[in-house]
Structures are given as structure tokens and as C-alpha cells.
């Protein structure tokens, strides 16, 4: 088969894989952004046991490879309960991967949030308080935007890393774009022994992370009118 004949077939397969990649990316963000905030609040809580437990969890998650976490979350329940909880199909693999990614990224995000929250000087909320603002007003009118400004640059770094990290889900055979590209080595849709589709997946990652870089750059610019 000539390249011109291969290309549409590969393109379709990679698009399908990339759709799965984007789904994992989106679900991870949707879960990790709020969960990270809860973890951050828990770590900062004055209730020491909660803070200690969460600190340990964050340390373990950030200190070990995401690939191992994926394997543990996918295989451990089966080993413990004697039967797999995720189901064998693509849907099961997707949810296992999502859980692993959400937990992992929530821990990274929590540290960023914590830095953002603690980075706003106490003088800001004290100034709000002596002006008679309620706690709610102090949070929404004074500190929130300053926090957002502080966390946008580190969050954009993490989120761009997440784009590329989704490829790790390949380890539990999630049919994301790397998996789709690799299939053309072993043989798929009448094409085999071809490496170029796998290499070509890089273009997708580049394009998507490029898009995100531009978007985050715009957001940072928008918040540029003040300094914290």
C-alpha cells in the first residue's frame, strides 16, 4: 500500500485514538480541579489528623510514577477482591485510567492551590475585614482573583504536562492515540510494520499543547493589569 493510500486509514484511526486522549484529558481536569481544592483545604485544615493523612497521600502520589499508580488502580482491586471491578472492556479501562489520573493530578493541583492561597498576604484579608467586609466578600472580592493570578502559570504547566501524560494510559491498554499509532506496527486495517503512524501522533500532541499554550498566554495577559 502506498503512503497516499495508507494516510487516510491511519488518519482516521489516530483521530479516533486522539478522541479517547481528549476524553481522558477532559475528565481528569473536571475531576482533579475541584478535588485538588478539597485536598488543599484539607491539608491546610487545623484538624491535624486530616492534614497529616492528606499530606502523606500527596507525598506518596507525587513521589511515585503515575505509570505504577495506573497499574495499581487497574489491577489491585482484582487482586484484593478476587474479581476485577473495572470490567475488561475499553470503558472499564477508561474509568480506571480516569481515577488514577484524577487522584494524581489532584495532588499536584492541591500543592499549587495551597501556594496560591497562602501566597496572598494576610494583610489583604485584614484590610477587607477592617473595612467591614464579610468573610464571603473578602474571599470573592479581595483574595480570589489574586489567588487565580498566582496559580495560572503553574496550572498551565501542569495542564500541558497532562496532555502528554495521557499517553501513559497505554500501559493498561487504553485505546488512546499512542495505542492507535502502535497498532500499525503489529498490523491493523491491512497495514503492518509501519512506524510512521506512531511518530505522527507527536503532531497531535504538539498541536494541542500549542493551542493550550496560546490560551493560557491570553489568560495570563488578561491578568497582567495588576501585580501581586
Amino acid at each position: 500500500m502506498s503512503f497516499a493510500e495508507q494516510f487516510p486509514i491511519v488518519f482516521a484511526a489516530l483521530n479516533e485514538g486522539f478522541f479517547q486522549t481528549l476524553k481522558l484529558f477532559g475528565v481528569t481536569l473536571a475531576g482533579a480541579i475541584p478535588l485538588g481544592l478539597l485536598i488543599a483545604l484539607g491539608v491546610m485544615s487545623r484538624f491535624k489528623p486530616l492534614s497529616a493523612v492528606l499530606k502523606t497521600v500527596v507525598w506518596i502520589v507525587r513521589g511515585s510514577p503515575l505509570m505504577i499508580q495506573l497499574l495499581i488502580i487497574f489491577y489491585m482491586p482484582g487482586m484484593l477482591f478476587g474479581h476485577p471491578i473495572w470490567g475488561g472492556g475499553e470503558t472499564g479501562r477508561f474509568w480506571a485510567a480516569s481515577v488514577a489520573f484524577i487522584i494524581n493530578y489532584a495532588c499536584y493541583f492541591s500543592e499549587i492551590y495551597r501556594g496560591g492561597i497562602q501566597g496572598v498576604p494576610v494583610g489583604q484579608s485584614e484590610a477587607g475585614q477592617v473595612l467591614g467586609l464579610s468573610r464571603r466578600q473578602v474571599f470573592f472580592k479581595v483574595t480570589l482573583l489574586q489567588m487565580v493570578k498566582r496559580i495560572v502559570p503553574p496550572m498551565s504547566n501542569e495542564i500541558i504536562t497532562l496532555v502528554k501524560d495521557t499517553s501513559l494510559a497505554r500501559i493498561i491498554a487504553l485505546q488512546e492515540i499512542i495505542w492507535a499509532g502502535q497498532a500499525f506496527m503489529k498490523g491493523r486495517d491491512g497495514i503492518s510494520g509501519q512506524l510512521w503512524p506512531l511518530f505522527f501522533t507527536g503532531v497531535y500532541y504538539l498541536a494541542f499543547s500549542g493551542l493550550l499554550t496560546v490560551l493560557f498566554g491570553k489568560l495570563e495577559k488578561k491578568l497582567d493589569y495588576f501585580k501581586v
Binding site: A127, Q129, L131, L133, K141
Partner: protein, 259 residues
């Protein structure tokens, strides 16, 4: 009539007692300067009166309202907020809100407060215009007519401090407190702040000023308190405290400033 009454106020941080029973009164229209060496408890005293810190015992009354009655129990937030409007505090490092212009820094609290008025919905436009007009007038008075639309990062330290004074003034507090309002400024910028405060004194605003500017304190205040190690070592008129100090500690402290 005394507008501020502080009785036997005590406050410890852990084992260190920082305020060891502080009592004083202030009449309407008076200007009180608090002087004293570093660590003597001046900031803590201001923070306790302004409800940023909860004292351990003693009482604080402002314009007849009990701010603190010695019981360190949790006050209701609504009471605390209502009381809060009777006092204003200008911080050493301004604490302007960086995301708002000078004008919005000044109007933020009054605008939020106005939302709680029953007639807000009907008169929204008029109410907000009135607040903005008031803010512009005060900003003009402190010499910032040209800087209203600037963000804090675009202003000098002296200008920022003038915005923060305007911000406190617009709420028209019964007593306005200053914690070393010029200490974070370059020496050439302190003059503009002291001038603003002198103007307020001439308008008979009741003020309490913690300061290390001795000449200014002597010139502007009607009453001076010298704090030493958590107690009031001496209080009186500026001429009494500066001209004829009784306590040895006061003498030593003032001598140090004349060297």
C-alpha cells in the same frame, strides 16, 4: 465625651504577655499619638481594638458600643461587622487591593455595604453615583485627583498610603487608627502623609496614631501615650510627655530620638 474607652486590656501570645493591662480614654476630636520602642505592644493594642486580634481580658468601648467585654467568646460576625464600621485602620504597608484602581479601592466597601440597604434596588444608580462622588472628593482632597484610575502598582508608596487613608475615610469612622503610616516610605515621601494627617487633625477627626515621628507627634496630637513593655508608662499632653517626662523610661526613650 469619650468616644474610645479601653480598660485593663490584656493579651498574651503563648507565654509572652504583650499587653499587661492597658487603660485609656479618648474624647471626640482628640488626636492621640502612641510612641514607644519596638516590641512594646503598640501594634498589638491597635489590632485588639480593631478586632483583628482577640484580647484575653479587659474591655473596649467605641462610641458607646461594646467591642470587647472581656469574654474571649466568639462574637457574632454580624455584630463584629457593624462595630467594625465605627473604627478605621490604616496599615503600615497600605494593604491596597492590587486588582482595583485607586477609586475602586476606596469605593469597594461602601458599594458592598450599599447592597445591604433596603432601598438599593430602587435607587441603585443614585446610590452608587453618590458613593463615587464622595470617593472622588476625598481622593481629590488627599491630592490624587489625577490618579483615580491608576492601579496600586502604578502609584508611589506615598500615593498608595494616601489612597488607603481615603479608603478608611470614606466609611467615616468614629475613630481612625494609624499604625506607623510612614514607616514603609522613603524619607522624602513621609511629608506628604504627615500633611494629610495634620489636615485631618485640623478638621477635628478623632485619631490614634502609632508613630516614630516624634516632632510630628508633638505637633499634631492633643494627647500622647508612651508604651513600654506592654504597659502605658506615661501619658499626658505632648508638652508634658515630650517637654517634661516623669518616668525615667520616657526620658531615656525621648533622649534617644534627640541624638
Amino acid at each position: 465625651m469619650s468616644v474610645l474607652e479601653v480598660r485593663d486590656l490584656r493579651k498574651s501570645f503563648g507565654k509572652t504577655e504583650v499587653l499587661k493591662g492597658v487603660s485609656f480614654d479618648l474624647n471626640e476630636g482628640e488626636v492621640l499619638s502612641i510612641i514607644g520602642s519596638s516590641g512594646s505592644g503598640k501594634t498589638t493594642l491597635l489590632r485588639c481594638i480593631n478586632q483583628l486580634e482577640t484580647a484575653d481580658s479587659g474591655t473596649v468601648t467605641v462610641a458607646g458600643e461594646t467591642f470587647f467585654d472581656g469574654a474571649p467568646k466568639k462574637q457574632k460576625e454580624s455584630d463584629k461587622r457593624r462595630n467594625q464600621l465605627l473604627v478605621g485602620l490604616v496599615f503600615q504597608n497600605f494593604n491596597l487591593f492590587p486588582q482595583y484602581t485607586a477609586l475602586r479601592n476606596v469605593t469597594l466597601a461602601p458599594r458592598l455595604l450599599a447592597k445591604e440597604r433596603p432601598d438599593y434596588k430602587d435607587n441603585k444608580k443614585a446610590i452608587l453615583e453618590e458613593i463615587d462622588a464622595g470617593a472622588k472628593e476625598i481622593l481629590t482632597k488627599v491630592g490624587l485627583a489625577q490618579k483615580m484610575e491608576n492601579y496600586p502598582c502604578e502609584l508611589s508608596g506615598g500615593q498608595q498610603q494616601r489612597v488607603s487613608i481615603a479608603r478608611a475615610l470614606l466609611l467615616n469612622p468614629k475613630v481612625l487608627f494609624f499604625d506607623e503610616p510612614t514607616s514603609a516610605l522613603d524619607p522624602e515621601l513621609t511629608g506628604e502623609i504627615l500633611k494629610v494627617i495634620k489636615g485631618l487633625a485640623q478638621e477635628k477627626r478623632t485619631m490614634v496614631i502609632v508613630t516614630h515621628e516624634m516632632e510630628f507627634a508633638r505637633a499634631v496630637s492633643t494627647k500622647v501615650i508612651f508604651m513600654d513593655d506592654g504597659v502605658i508608662a506615661e501619658q499626658g499632653t505632648p508638652d508634658e510627655v515630650f517637654g517634661n517626662p516623669k518616668s525615667e523610661r520616657t526620658k531615656a526613650f525621648i533622649r534617644k530620638f534627640h541624638e
